[in-house]
């Protein structure tokens, strides 16, 4: 168009100035907050994406916190288990000492008192507090005392729950072990079966404990495929005719005879159904020994059994043999308990190592997320500073030209 009204000149110039000013102000705001995206309108896609990445970043941080909690709990479990392992070594030493036939009753009493102290120590460790008002080894029942001592050992009052924490996205980790796993799942005997003198049936007055001096060995598995898992009884009988001591082995589940009456020779291996063991010493007529499958026994029961055996052992060869058999059994059981503690320790260690790996990858992710957010919403200072000075100079130019253009008027010359 060829005609411009005076008001248009002013309006145009003023609106252009105000546009330049508001652009300059926005750049200044960006520079002072170091953010490119001041409101979602500046970059809707980046704003939405930044929100999601922020959540991932926060979750990552939370998992790191959870890992710290898990690590400190596992450290506590580790320390306690190490102490328990040491205690079990002490118990084993005492059991070995107790096997010395030359000990007097007073000596044995000393050992029994020592074992009672070890028992109390074990109970104390089993009932460790977890630092937040609960117990470490009660499973889910953290406010319930894990073990209560009884006359035969200790009762477990907790449960078998595994307390877990979310230590990574998709990874829940158990932060403790239950009391039953550590203390009650110790296998008896050699892992497959347990040999011992027969425990008399309290209901049968004719069933008496062994009077001979037979010592039964722990035995071993000679052929795993022939194992039946049955209970067996070895019965000794003196042959009325020859006067020799003989033994027979019966399978308790069906009464069948595994080994018919055979002459007894001390130390000679007795083998059947994949099992082999031997008996030494001089068993008496009607003495019996049993072979039963291994089962779980609580360590407290094991220790209590040793204490009881020490206290009830009398003097004389029969008492000596009974004590030796009991100590043989206890030795195996305590060793198994130690091994169990070691395996729990190993799993705790493995979990601790996994936490380390998760920590490493967690801090990697942290850096990645932060850099992603920075790319999305933060400012490129150099570009912004350049833009600012460019806008500043255009504003200045606009202001000057506005003044010159509007000061021209014909009225100046009339």
């Amino acid at each position: 168009m060829t005609r411009i009204s005076t008001s248009m000149m002013y309006e145009r110039g003023a609106s252009q100035l105000s546009t330049l000013q508001s652009n300059l102000l926005k750049t200044q705001l960006q520079l002072s907050t170091m953010r490119r995206v001041l409101t979602p309108a500046d970059d809707p896609v980046a704003s939405a994406r930044a929100l999601e990445v922020t959540q991932s970043l926060e979750l990552n941080t939370q998992y790191a916190t959870n890992r710290q909690t898990a690590a400190s709990s596992l450290t506590q479990v580790d320390t306690t288990l190490q102490t328990i392992g040491d205690l079990l070594t002490d118990v084993k030493d005492t059991v070995l000492k107790a096997g010395n036939p030359g000990l007097s009753i007073a000596d044995r009493e000393t050992l029994a008192v020592d074992l009672e102290a070890r028992m109390a120590d074990l109970l104390g460790q089993a009932n460790t507090a977890d630092g937040t008002g609960g117990y470490l080894f009660s499973g889910y029942k953290t406010n319930t005392l894990p073990f209560v001592q009884t006359s035969t050992g200790a009762n477990y009052q907790g449960d078998q729950g595994q307390r877990e924490l979310q230590v990574g996205s998709g990874r829940k980790m158990a932060i403790s072990a239950s009391g039953s796993q550590i203390f009650e799942n110790n296998i008896t005997g050699n892992g497959t079966f347990l040999t011992k003198p027969q425990v008399p049936d309290p209901a049968d007055p004719t069933d008496l404990p062994n009077v001979g001096t037979g010592i039964i060995s722990p035995g071993s598995v000679s052929d795993a495929t022939k194992l039946t898992g049955h209970n067996y009884t070895v019965t000794f009988a003196k042959d009325a005719t020859t006067g020799k001591m003989q033994y027979s082995v019966t399978d308790d589940s069906d009464g069948s005879e595994k080994i018919p009456l055979t002459d007894y020779k001390a130390g000679e291996p007795i083998a059947f159904d994949g099992i082999t063991f031997d008996i030494k010493g001089e068993p008496a007529d009607t003495d019996k020994f049993t072979v039963e499958p291994s089962k779980n026994q609580s360590i407290f029961e094991t220790v209590q059994n040793v204490i009881n055996a020490l206290r009830t052992a009398g003097t004389g060869p029969t008492a000596g043999a009974k004590l030796t058999n009991a100590m043989n059994e206890a030795n195996q059981n305590v060793q198994n308990a130690s091994d169990n503690v070691l395996s729990v320790l190993a799993s705790v260690g493995a979990r601790g190592k996994e936490l380390d790996y998760l920590d490493d990858s967690g801090s990697e992710m942290n850096i990645q997320y932060k850099s992603q957010i920075s790319d999305l919403v933060e400012l490129d200072e150099i570009e912004a500073a350049t833009r600012f000075s460019q806008q500043l100079s255009s504003l200045q130019a606009a202001q000057q030209t506005f003044k010159s253009a509007t000061s021209l008027s014909l009225f100046n010359y009339l």
Partner: protein, 656 residues
């Protein structure tokens, strides 16, 4: 002679008029809406004097108003658009700014809430940890209330803007009608209309147009008829219609625009208003404000429902099953005020399925038998009708219609509209937070084999038949060498047991059936599921029972915390954060759209204005030149009269 004098006089008069008009232009140069005027001179009729026609001078035929209707209409359209976009932008920028503020935004509150759950999980038996989870959930609901409150403030702002705009429109309509009267009275000669009155009326129409887009049609007698929307009249001749702002029939907190006729108001539908500030406000409210309110509500309602569902499957510190953590969310129901007064219908809608929630509004009508649902945006609804007194779930909300409805009753249902304002934490006692799972399992030490049992999981049907005592499942294997003789039993009498194999096949067994054992299969009964694995021996048992005193258990708490990253909303396609992010995205996009629209509307207005001004605008330099011209013309005409006078003097001198 006298002719010469009168010729000069006409020139003088014309020049005078010219200077007066130029002066009028100069003094009114900055008056908005002023169209410059100019005189149009024409010759007066000549006199036949024998030798030919002698001119008799000049006269001012017309004071012309420089005005182009087409350019003016163009400007009107551009300004209506600009008014609408600017009003929309002004409102939506407030939401945009609110979402960018990290202290009021929802995102940090959501994350802190889930952090609180995780903290409680680390030490579930501690009062302090639980109290802190309760307090971060209070913070979350507080933040929802703040956001909802801010949006409600915007609603109220829109309401009051609509009221005041309607008042302004009414004022303009009255004035325009008034001017119509004056102009009609003053227009004696169609060629010489009252220019300044016309300018005033045009300016009023222009200002009215910025409030609401108008269509202008000429009426008789130089009057203008103004209408809005698709033809609703506002000014007809000398009378004007009145608009009124009134509350919506279905929502007392919503202002709508109605026609005011004596005795009644008829509400105008929202699409009547397009363009102008009123159109922008109404479009903002319908498109963006309502939608953002519904979307934020969807997040609140979805979170409350999903969290409650999982919370009910847990066990609190008192050993009881968890109740509602958040109070259940109710849908907003607006009863149309025009419903029959005999109607006693009552509607209750409770959110029951977070994944099916939508952000739409629904219109419900009663046809005498059933209540029929329709979505406001037209998308199909299934099921689409609900019988009275029959709770039915539609799109995640369970509705129950009670009372007597009348045929023709109408309701507006907005499921998530009030959810963000209503969400509250229903638990105040830290002991009632259900972080533990209600069942736990164990393997007795007397077992001979090494079979294991998983920790036990419950599903929603557990609530109907909770375990009250431990159940012992026994494993049997009659032939140690034959795996097919493995069975399990010991389930409570009368229960159905479902076994799901690792390969997916499912079998169910009832009382009396022999249940085979498969390692690794998931076994379920009465809502409890567990997995048996390992190599149990004949006679081994497994126990599942209530998780008594299990205060250190956080299994349910871990599942609750897992809701943060679970896709729950929109049919299982978005997390809560994702839903919020898409709202932010929508607002950002819309604001951007309005910003660009505003810039382009400004350009369009500038161009239209430049064109209009090039015809009607006053250029002071031009007027200065005109002043000189008319001044010289005046002087010249004066000289003519002077000469005529001198000539007459010469004639008079002849007698002496």
């Amino acid at each position: 002679m006298s002719n010469l004098l009168s010729i000069g006089k006409t020139g003088l008069m014309a020049a005078q008029t010219g200077i007066a008009t130029t002066g009028h232009n100069i003094t009114n140069a900055t008056v908005p809406g002023y169209s410059r005027q100019g005189i149009v001179q024409s010759t007066t009729p000549p006199i036949q004097q024998g030798v030919g026609y002698i001119g008799t001078g000049t006269e001012v035929a017309q004071i012309k108003r420089y005005y182009d209707n087409f350019l003016n209409t163009q400007l009107l359209n551009a300004q209506a658009n600009q008014g609408s976009v600017d009003a929309y932008l002004g409102q939506i920028s407030q939401i945009d700014n609110m979402l960018s503020d990290s202290t009021i935004g929802l995102s940090p509150a959501l994350q802190d809430f889930f952090k609180g759950v995780q903290t409680a999980n680390s030490t579930p038996s501690l009062q302090a940890a639980r109290e802190s989870m309760l307090s971060s959930s209070q913070t979350l609901t507080g933040r929802f209330h703040e956001v909802s409150g801010r949006l409600t403030e915007l609603q109220n702002g829109v309401n009051s803007s609509i009221s005041s705009t309607v008042n302004t429109i009414n004022a303009y309509s009255t004035q325009i009608a008034d001017l119509n009267t004056k102009i009609a009275a003053a227009t004696a000669d169609p060629l010489n209309p009252p220019n300044d009155l016309l300018d005033q009326r045009d300016q009023l129409i222009r200002e009215l147009n910025q409030q609401v887009k108008v269509t202008v049609l000429p009426g008789d007698n130089n009057m203008l008829n103004v209408s809005i929307g698709s033809g609703q009249p506002l000014v007809v001749g000398v009378s004007s219609m009145e608009l009124a702002s009134t509350t919506s029939p279905t929502d007392p907190n919503r202002t709508v625009v109605a026609y005011q006729t004596p005795g009644r108001q008829s509400v105008l539908p929202d699409d009547t208003f397009s363009g102008g500030a009123l159109g922008g406000l109404i479009a903002f409210r319908n498109e963006t404000l309502d939608r953002v309110q519904n979307q934020v509500g969807q997040i609140a309602a979805g979170l409350a429902d999903a969290f409650n569902d999982q919370h009910r499957l847990g066990q609190d510190l008192n050993g009881e099953l968890g109740g509602d953590f958040f109070a259940p969310i109710k849908a907003y129901v607006g009863y149309d005020t025009r419903n029959s007064p005999l109607s006693t219908a009552k509607v209750e809608g409770i959110v029951t399925d977070a994944s099916k929630l939508t952000t739409a509004d629904y219109n419900v009508t009663f046809d005498g038998t059933n209540y029929n649902f329709e979505r406001a945006d037209g998308v199909a609804v299934t099921p689409s009708s609900v019988a009275p007194n029959t709770p039915t779930e539609i799109d995640g909300v369970t509705y129950n219609f009670t009372g007597d409805g009348q045929d023709g009753d109408r309701f507006q249902v907005r499921p998530t509209y009030q959810a963000a304002a209503d969400i509250t934490v229903a638990i105040t006692d830290y002991k009632k937070i259900a972080l533990a799972a209600p069942v736990s399992t164990s393997v007795p030490s007397s077992n001979k084999g090494n079979g294991t049992i998983s920790a036990g999981v419950v599903d929603p049907s557990y609530v109907d038949t909770p375990l009250t005592a431990p159940v012992t499942i026994a494993f049997h294997q009659t032939d140690p060498a034959d795996k097919n003789t493995r069975t399990i039993d010991g389930f409570p009498a009368g229960t159905t047991v479902t076994i799901k194999q690792p390969n997916g096949t499912e079998n169910t067994y009832v009382d009396g059936d022999t249940i085979p054992y498969t390692e690794g299969a998931t076994i379920s009964f009465n809502g409890v599921s567990f997995v048996l694995a390992g190599a149990p021996k004949d006679g081994d048992t497994f126990t599942i029972g209530p998780n008594t005193s299990g205060v250190g258990d956080s299994r349910n708490g871990v599942l609750l915390a897992g809701l943060q990253t679970k896709n729950i909303l929109n049919g299982g396609s978005a997390t809560f954060q994702g839903g919020y992010a898409s709202t932010v995205n929508y607002v950002g996009n819309k604001t951007r759209e309005m910003q660009v629209g505003s810039a382009s509307a400004t350009t369009a207005v500038n161009q239209a204005r430049a064109s209009q001004q090039s015809v009607s605008g006053v250029n002071l330099d031009e007027e200065a030149a005109d002043l000189l011209r008319y001044q010289q013309a005046y002087q010249a005409a004066g000289k003519v009269m002077q000469i005529a006078g001198q000539l007459f003097d010469t004639l008079l001198q002849i007698g002496n």
